[in-house]
């Protein structure tokens, strides 16, 4: 109990005694964590968007013109048996025409004179949940291509692939940047704590002389690093939240309608907890490095 009281009091005194350098460190940690968190938020939303998109992905297999209707039913059965296929719906040329008319609405007169027979019959294939990603879809498409009655297979392949690459690049940038920021944060925290330690040099020397245990000397500095990391991480989350909220205020109304279909989410609680924990670990590590350098028992 006494030890805990001492550690808390000493940590608070250390921080208040070097308020300016502490605020600077917390600010720098906050900026570094904000950069990292922004990339995390972007990657999180793009991944989420990709998931929504992938969920909606369906494969359309166009049948060769002139495929006898007697072959449609066995072909449907064969397609349904393919691994990864959830549902298959046959779309006749008439269904296709009906769909186009619905889509065109008031302008359906554009279709006047066009015979449904010009539209190819097709299968709309819904994938099982686990297969709704570009790698798995490709596997199913490869099987579909082996079926001779199909003339063309379509799916949002290029979009999905480009988007996947974008998400991967973003995640890679996030971690490379995260690594660099990690080194910077450790360096900064360690240097500020060295300042704190040197401002208390005489006191620490007396502590060494009277036989204070090393942990008694070091723990307040470790705690200071942890608090700096926590406050830095907390500020980063707060700024990011404000940015996230502000984003909606300044989005033009035309874009808001479009965005309404794509939810721009904030980081989940679990990720926020990880960011705070990450900040604390960095702060602790910085203080650990500092204490290893300058708190040797003399």
């Amino acid at each position: 109990m006494f030890f805990l009281q001492y550690v808390i009091r000493r940590t608070f005194q250390n921080m208040m005694g070097n308020l300016f350098s502490n605020l600077i460190t917390i600010g720098i940690i906050a900026i570094s964590m904000l950069i990292f968190s922004t990339f995390t938020l972007l990657a999180f939303n793009l991944t989420n968007f990709l998931k929504i998109w992938e969920d909606k992905i369906e494969v359309i297999a166009y049948l060769k013109r002139g495929t006898p209707s007697s072959e449609v039913e066995p072909l449907l059965k064969k397609t349904r048996l393919l691994e990864g296929v959830e549902t298959v719906r046959y779309v006749s040329p008439y269904d296709a025409m009906g769909f186009m008319e619905t889509k065109l609405g008031g302008q359906k007169n554009l279709l006047e004179g066009i015979q449904p027979a010009v539209l190819p019959p097709s299968f709309e294939i819904q994938m099982k949940k686990d297969y709704r990603n570009s790698t798995k879809i490709k596997e199913v498409v490869a099987h579909l291509k082996e079926i001779p009655q199909f003339e063309e297979i379509q799916y949002g392949q290029e979009w999905v692939e480009t988007f996947s690459v974008l998400v991967h690049i973003l995640r890679l940038t996030q971690w490379i940047l995260g690594g660099l920021l990690l080194i910077a944060v450790v360096f900064i925290t360690s240097n500020t704590l060295q300042l704190t330690i040197s401002s208390r040099r005489e006191e620490i020397e007396v502590m060494h002389w009277v036989g204070t245990s090393p942990s008694f000397i070091r723990i307040p500095f470790y705690l200071e690093g942890l608090i700096q990391g926590f406050l830095g991480g907390g500020l980063a989350i707060l700024f990011l939240f404000l940015l996230h909220q502000g984003l909606f205020l300044y989005i033009p109304p035309s874009m808001q309608a479009w965005l309404a279909k794509i939810p721009v989410l904030f980081l989940p609680l679990e990720t926020i907890a990880w960011i705070l924990l990450g900040g604390m670990v960095l702060g602790f590590f910085g203080s650990f490095v500092a204490s290893m350098r300058v708190l040797k028992y003399k």
Binding site: F2, E205, V210
Partner: protein, 232 residues
Amino acid sequence: MNEAMIEMHHVFKTYPSQISALSDITLEILPGEFAFIVGPSGSGKSTLLRILFCAERPTSGEVVVHGIHITQPDFKKIYQLRRTMGIVSQDFKLLRDRTVNENVAFALEITGHIREEAKSKASEILRRVGLEEREGDSILALSAGEQQRVAIARALVNSPPLLLADEPTGNLDARMTLDVMEIFTDLHQKGTTIVFATQFTGLIKRYSYRAIRLLDGRKADSHKVEEVKATG
């Protein structure tokens, strides 16, 4: 026969710059003894004391304090050894932003005593060194002699059986020196072992304690004693 409080066997200390600070020092100090380490500036007195309180390691040789072999490579608990000794230096090493009582109580607080208990024990020890009237004063308001008495009080507050003093009168005038020496003599009479490093041979002439003479890092009994006196 009493087991020695301090034993040094063939201790050498050479700094990386090849400066030899101590050379083949062998000595024994018994419990309750008052021993002067005397020699001119640069003779190795401070290095010898720093080795005794583990601020430095000798290049070779063996040192035993309180029966603990402090030169063994596996000896790591320096802080535990330091709790059995008080250290006083020429530059006092007091915390200038605290009062007299707080400086002394600090030594207790950081070794696990609760604040109130530390303050009351600090008051008691300050009475012993004649500073009961100055307890609440800032360190900056004290004379050099009074500051040294605070440093001695801090070294004594944990009741160590051994007191290492490195030129404790180095910054004091003759009158203050005598005041401080009176405290050390009193402590010695109460059973504390004292190792007192000084370059003033006047002190060793005045007090009839054993004097271990150092010259150029060697025990002066390997040199002429007059040589030491001439430099002192």
